[in-house]
């Protein structure tokens, strides 16, 4: 997983609440189905960050992403008795989230929102989010690059964008993405390849990408 998104196995604590990683998702799901609400809350703790990241990258808007997270867990909780465990809980949750994101985009009839590239606020950059060794200049450059990536991603077709996000930031396998998108495995790879190619062109066009001319054959 990339982009600073720690997945559930690495994360131990969220907002002061300890996540018990000794219990598997499947066990927590079984307990939740039996009526144990706390177990479902443990699942929320484990997965709320990745789900938020997925929704944010799909929609590009923090408020919408938070709404989708809440909606996704609520739907999952209501539909839990019907969850047969044929897929992983996380895959099921990703599917719900992607469907909700699609609904939001369809409803709004808009391309994903791209945050306005306004002037960088130094006060925003100072927090502990950055590594101690990272200078302000580096932070500014990273934020700037992040905005360019976001803008380039927003220009991709939805299927390509989803495939890249799921692979790049959530570490799903080609097979899992194919199941989520309901397409053959080779289609997922093609979408990834086409998406990455467009991203490369977009980033180069803005002069942010590292020069690769020397590494290419003429």
């Amino acid at each position: 997983m990339r982009g600073g998104q720690a997945g559930p196995p690495e994360r131990q604590e969220t907002h002061g609440e300890r996540v018990d990683m000794t219990v598997t998702d499947e066990e927590l799901v079984a307990r939740s189905i039996a009526g144990d609400t706390d177990s479902f809350n443990q699942l929320i703790l484990r997965w709320e960050r990745p789900i938020y990241a997925l929704a944010y990258r799909q929609l590009g808007r923090e408020e919408d992403a938070r709404d989708v997270v809440q909606d996704a867990f609520l739907r999952a909780f209501r539909a839990l008795p019907g969850f047969k465990g044929e897929a992983k809980f996380s895959s099921w949750l990703y599917r719900i989230t992607l469907n909700l994101c699609r609904d939001v985009m369809r409803r709004a009839r808009r391309a994903p929102f791209v945050p306005t590239p306004e002037g960088v606020d130094i006060a925003d950059l100072a927090p502990a989010e950055s590594a101690p060794a990272e200078s302000i200049d580096d932070v500014v450059a990273r934020k700037d690059l992040g905005r360019h990536v976001a803008r380039a991603m927003s220009r991709l077709p939805e299927e390509q964008r989803s495939a890249i996000i799921l692979k790049e930031y959530h570490g799903l396998t080609f097979q899992e993405i194919a199941e989520l998108q309901g397409c053959p495995l080779s289609t997922v790879k093609t979408r990834l390849y086409q998406g990455l190619t467009v991203l490369r062109r977009e980033l180069e066009g803005r002069g942010t990408g590292p020069s690769r001319a020397e590494s290419r054959t003429p």
Partner: protein
């Protein structure tokens, strides 16, 4: 082994780039890269794109969604009530009050003595709400049986005292039966008939009141729905205008920032 079929093959390239897929396929592509500078450059540039993508992180936010167990499960019995719209609750309440008032023969009067509330069916006929309301407009339809009842009462009082009363002392209603004294069976039948008539009338009144209540509720509901729909339309219009303004502003900012 350098397989020329791997050259430019996105399937093999992606499997190699993400280290996801059959191991032999990846090994074959790796061997191909040693011989194909074009594919090696492609892999290097896509790796660079992946590194750049790491810079895109979602903003920090507070996520504190939790499923909360209902604190008062005892109230679930009436929980469905809260899901009903307000107008439906009001309608149900009105219906219950109306039926209860009808069944109890509620009589509310406001006069010189102040407010007076009476219930029950054993009040004098003239003080009953049904009588007070219904006699005036439907005097023609009620007068015969009320007159009959009064005459019957008189007859019953008079009979023990004057067993051989002259025909002219018999009330008008009995005179119409040929002027003869009625037997016990006839009295009984007559009383039953009057009771049945009274019951029928009470039922009719009740049905009429219920129909009125339902009609009033329906009218009120329609009026409320219309008002709500109008309000929503106005809100929608305002929201749309504000959204359009914000979009314009965002587009402007976007254009300015891209210069």
């Amino acid at each position: 082994m350098n397989d020329p079929r791997d050259c430019g093959n996105p399937d093999a390239l992606m499997s190699y780039l993400y280290e996801d897929g059959p191991a032999d396929e990846r090994r074959a592509f790796e061997a191909h890269l040693l011989a194909c500078a074009r594919c090696a450059a492609e892999v290097a540039s896509l790796r660079a794109v992946r590194e750049e993508m790491a810079a895109w992180a979602p903003p920090e936010t507070v996520l504190d969604f939790r499923i909360v167990r209902d604190a008062a499960p005892a109230n679930r019995r009436w929980g469905w009530m809260s899901a009903m719209p307000a107008w439906a609750q009001l309608a149900a309440a009105s219906l219950v009050v109306g039926v209860a008032a009808g069944l109890s023969g509620l009589d509310i009067q406001y006069g010189k003595d102040g407010l007076r509330v009476q219930t029950g069916w054993d009040r004098p006929a003239e003080s009953r709400p049904g009588a007070a309301v219904a006699v005036a407009p439907a005097a023609g339809s009620e007068a015969p049986w009320r007159a009959d009842l009064a005459a019957l009462k008189e007859e019953m009082r008079a009979e023990p005292r004057q067993p051989s009363a002259a025909p002219e002392t018999v009330p008008v209603s009995t005179a119409s039966r040929g002027g003869r004294t009625m037997t016990d069976e006839e009295w009984l039948a007559r009383v039953r008939q009057l009771i049945e008539a009274s019951e029928t009338r009470t039922q009719r009144e009740m049905a009429l009141r219920l129909a009125e209540v339902v009609r009033d509720i329906d009218t009120q509901r329609r009026a409320d729905m219309r008002r709500v729909a109008d309000g929503l339309g106005v809100l929608e219009g305002r929201t749309g205008a504000v959204t359009a303004q914000q979009r314009e502003m965002m587009n402007y900012l976007l254009r300015v920032s891209q210069r």
